[in-house]
């Protein structure tokens, strides 16, 4: 019998038969991992199994290739905080949907795990959340192998006046380096460089930029699946409430 114990955030729940549930948990040591929870649809356990909940999980299976069973203990619920507002709820849905979309199963991503947990704990902090979310998407791209290089200009090598990102290479471009190509480049929100205001339009520009790379780089690498609609809903809400 194989067995391990870890802590993780619940990403997804599906009912399995009458009383069980199949859950996907994002753990620090075992990445995105699925398993059956016996009695997961019961009145006692179903409230614990809400997306975003922090769980102590013990996974057991006879062989490593089996789906296996989870025994879950709640550590803390984030659903109540998330349900407090539509932005936080949309944020929770976007994070869990993107993690389910991107992460390969059973592959540990401890750095992304730590950032994701911080993001989930920030739900409900409307002021800090949009910029933190934008930075989280950048971290997600980087973890998946499509990191953007926003440190210096791809053309001149300068670290000053960075204003664009190349949609092809994901590297920053300065105003001088862009020249006549500026209209073909993606605007780089200054808040990502630690400068300028952190307002709705800047966050919107940033999400359009990360959305471009999620759509044109990451999604094709994952089998041409469309990005989860939950992300689009969050982007729309942020632009409306920005």
């Amino acid at each position: 019998m194989i067995e391990w114990r870890d802590e993780g955030a619940l990403l997804r729940v599906r009912r399995h038969g009458e009383s069980a549930a199949i859950i996907e948990v994002f753990t620090a040591g075992h990445g995105r991992h699925a398993g059956v929870v016996r009695g997961g649809a019961s009145r006692r356990i179903a409230p614990i199994l809400q997306p975003g909940s922090q769980l102590d999980v013990t996974w057991k299976a006879r062989l490593d290739t089996h789906l296996g069973h989870f025994v879950v203990e709640p550590i803390r619920s984030r659903a109540a905080v998330a349900m407090g507002g539509r932005l936080s709820l949309a944020g929770l849905n976007a994070i869990t949907a993107l993690l389910c979309f991107c992460l390969p199963e059973r592959e540990a991503h401890p750095a992304l795990y730590a950032r994701s947990i911080t993001m989930l704990d920030l739900l409900g902090h409307a002021d800090a959340w949009p910029l933190a979310y934008l930075r989280w998407e950048l971290a997600l791209l980087e973890e998946m192998g499509f990191g953007l290089d926003l440190t210096c200009c791809a053309v001149t090598g300068s670290r000053d006046d960075l204003a664009y990102v190349s949609p092809r290479t994901g590297r920053a471009v300065s105003v001088a380096g862009a020249g006549a190509w500026a209209d073909r480049l993606l605007p780089l929100p200054q808040c990502l460089l630690g400068q300028g205001p952190v307002a709705g339009p800047e966050i919107g520009e940033g999400l359009r930029m990360t959305g471009h790379f999620l759509r044109t780089r990451l999604a094709p690498a994952l089998g041409e699946r469309p990005l989860p609609p939950a992300r689009q809903r969050l982007v729309e809400l942020l632009s409306r409430e920005g």
């Binding site: 009458e18 809400q50 709640p74 619920s77 984030r78 539509r86 709820l89 989860p228 939950a230």
Partner: protein
């Protein structure tokens, strides 16, 4: 196995597909039905046949009845400007058991789910918006489950009804009647604390 015994086995197999019944309990139920053939099995078969022939979804609200428009929608006394939005028919029946709501219902047929690809077009949300406009509705009560999917759907409906001139409310969340704080999860306690009222 004789033909008759095969019929009984078929009945057991069908019964075992019902929620809450496994092969053993289905076998017990079928045996009970056979033993009470005259007073239970005959009327049950007749009632099932009748319902199979007549049961249908109400064209207006999605409730299950035996006519195109269900009894609740036909009842003029329930046209009081209130409409209660529920996820499925089981929730409508639960509300009706409480006998505390005297308006009409709207059954969505599920909740939005990003992960399971259930979008607004898969639910009866456009029909709800039409009803709000055509039935002189003053308040829409969102009686959706206190789950992430349920509340995501509630927020989406509230957005769709913005500008429709109706008050959109939702059920309170908190300590259930007969509940003990010690046994509540932290999410419920947080929700109850946020929704506290003057005593």
């Amino acid at each position: 196995m004789t033909d008759n015994a095969r019929d009984i086995e078929t009945l057991i197999e069908l019964m075992a597909r019902l929620p809450g019944l496994g092969p053993r309990s289905a076998r017990r139920a079928v045996l009970h039905l056979i033993q009470k053939r005259a007073i239970l099995m005959g009327p049950l078969a007749q009632a099932m046949q009748q319902v199979a022939a007549t049961a249908r979804e109400c064209l207006n609200c999605g409730n299950i009845g035996t006519a195109e428009i269900c009894e609740i929608c036909r009842n003029e006394k329930r046209a009081n400007g209130l409409i209660c939005v529920v996820e499925d028919v089981a929730d409508l029946w639960a509300m009706e058991r409480g006998q505390s709501f005297s308006g009409r219902y709207h059954v969505l047929g599920g909740t939005l789910s990003a992960l399971d690809s259930v979008g607004p077009e898969d639910l009866r949300i456009p029909r709800l918006v039409d009803r709000v406009a055509s039935e002189s509705i003053t308040e829409v009560i969102l009686a959706l489950n206190a789950t992430v999917d349920g509340q995501t759907t509630a927020h989406y409906i509230a957005e769709q009804l913005e500008g429709a001139g109706v008050s959109v409310t939702s059920l309170a969340q908190g300590v259930p009647i007969g509940g003990e704080l010690d046994y509540l999860d932290d999410g419920t306690i947080t929700a109850a604390l946020q929704a506290r009222k003057r005593f």
